[in-house]
Symmetry: C2
Subunit: 278 residues, 2 copies
């Protein structure tokens, strides 16, 4: 197991502060975090959250994303990007901010690629109260599941993450989808670095599309994704369950839930995506 | 039935454009749309979406909210507010923008009370394709349900809307909650004006809190709410179903789904709220 700090994920989260502009960060996004040639949306969200975390930890001791809503404006390629952060409201238990990710286009012109609003707080200060509890999804052990790496070519992301699909959600891989729009599996980093809130943001968008098991193939680009981080995750494998209730008019929602190794719900997300045209 | 235009809701949606500043609108928020003395969050979201709709319909023929994510920064009182809109990206099928609602504090200082990001498009241009369909919640007919007006005092909002609770979700009203965190009922405006996307934004946050049926009372203020409008609603009663999967650490999510009278899913939302302290 790699300790936090030395993992490829930690290197991928590195930001350079701008000494002349406290609202700006620079980052180099590595091709290792791509899916289909563009920077993966969950990874980009984690980078954006990291910039806002840096600001809100400094001004309000609110380092953890409680809720973040990202609007995906244009794809990001590997290479340099810069981020602009804004503290909108500083509160006692949560503070709210905005973050934008920019990348230059082929003419050197700045293009905003992602904008997010988010509320941050301190997960370590949450109470232990549990009134309503979502029981973890049940699935076979990781060795009994289907490693995704061996099936997916050309997606560098899957060299960084270790995803094991529940065989019940892997019918599409052998051309026999169940017809039900869901996805379910285990997740950890390939180097087994323990999860933290930023990694949860990546994990929320790493399973195969729910529509695959419904018999629909093709890429479903995210318009908007809102993630709620509900607790600090324990070390070990994460359990992820995704489902879609409605795909119509060319759009679908995809919901994800993540439990940590002690069975606590640690993250939820919903995204609105454009359905494949096929 | 009141036609669109003459309804109290239409009057409540009125915005004054600023001839000197195309990014600014002014509005007078009436005390009729309050809940517990402050402007209701769903109504405020509809006002904000209306301002962005006005901008994006003009610059991109994208009048309808597809996705809107609102961060609630501070309560709004009845009286004057102003809104600032920004077009972030104009696209072919969707455009993305930002909107802020400001109200002066007791010293006359501008305070940002709500900020939202949103993607707008044209619901009339969506395809008829339906791949995955969420079946409507089943509940007794409106006359067999429990009108909410007669039970809730001091909440002006419930003179504007006609909410009929499924008796199965109304145990808390007689001190016998079922223990399950959900809410379910019918919704229309008191004057029966037909629903449209802006009214759906209001309706998504109008049912009693899901925690009431779980035996928890008290007010759960919204931190963030993201709504997806999935289709233009048919006239008639709306069916609304709300549920909570997880309430822990002092926060809960609340999911809502709305079907129109022809049984189509027309809206979904999820909010993160602070759990009552009690």
């Amino acid at each position: 197991m790699v300790e936090a700090g030395g993992s490829a994920f930690d290197i991928g989260m590195r930001l350079a502060a701008d000494p002349a502009d406290s609202a700006r960060f620079d980052a180099q996004l590595d091709g290792a975090w791509t899916f289909g040639g563009v920077i993966h949306g969950g990874y980009l969200l984690a980078v954006a959250a990291h910039a806002l975390s840096t600001l809100l930890a400094r001004v309000a001791r609110h380092p953890d994303p409680f809720s973040i809503s990202a609007y995906y404006l244009a794809p990001v390629r590997p290479g340099p990007v810069w981020l602009r952060v804004e503290a909108i409201r500083i509160g006692r238990s949560v503070s709210t901010g905005s973050v934008s990710v920019f990348q230059a286009d082929e003419n050197g012109l700045a293009v905003e690629r992602l904008r997010a609003l988010a509320s941050f707080g301190d997960l370590a200060r949450l109470s232990d109260e549990r009134r309503v509890v979502a029981p973890p999804a049940r699935l076979p052990t990781p060795p009994q599941c289907v490693p995704l790496t061996s099936f997916v070519a050309g997606t560098e992301l899957f060299s960084q993450v270790d995803v094991r699909l529940d065989p019940a959600a892997a019918g599409w891989l052998s051309g026999r989808p169940s017809g039900e729009a869901f996805s379910r599996g285990w997740f950890r980093l390939a180097d087994a670095r323990p999860a933290d809130p930023l990694l949860l943001l990546l994990a929320l968008d790493c399973l195969p599309a729910t529509l695959f098991e419904a018999g629909v193939s093709g890429y479903a680009p995210t318009l908007e994704l809102t993630a709620h981080i509900r607790a600090r995750p324990s070390p070990g494998w994460l359990t992820i369950s995704q489902s879609t209730r409605n795909s119509s008019g060319g759009y679908l929602e995809e919901d994800a839930e993540i439990w940590d190794s002690s069975g606590h719900l640690v993250a939820q997300s919903r995204q609105l995506a454009r359905a494949p045209r096929s």
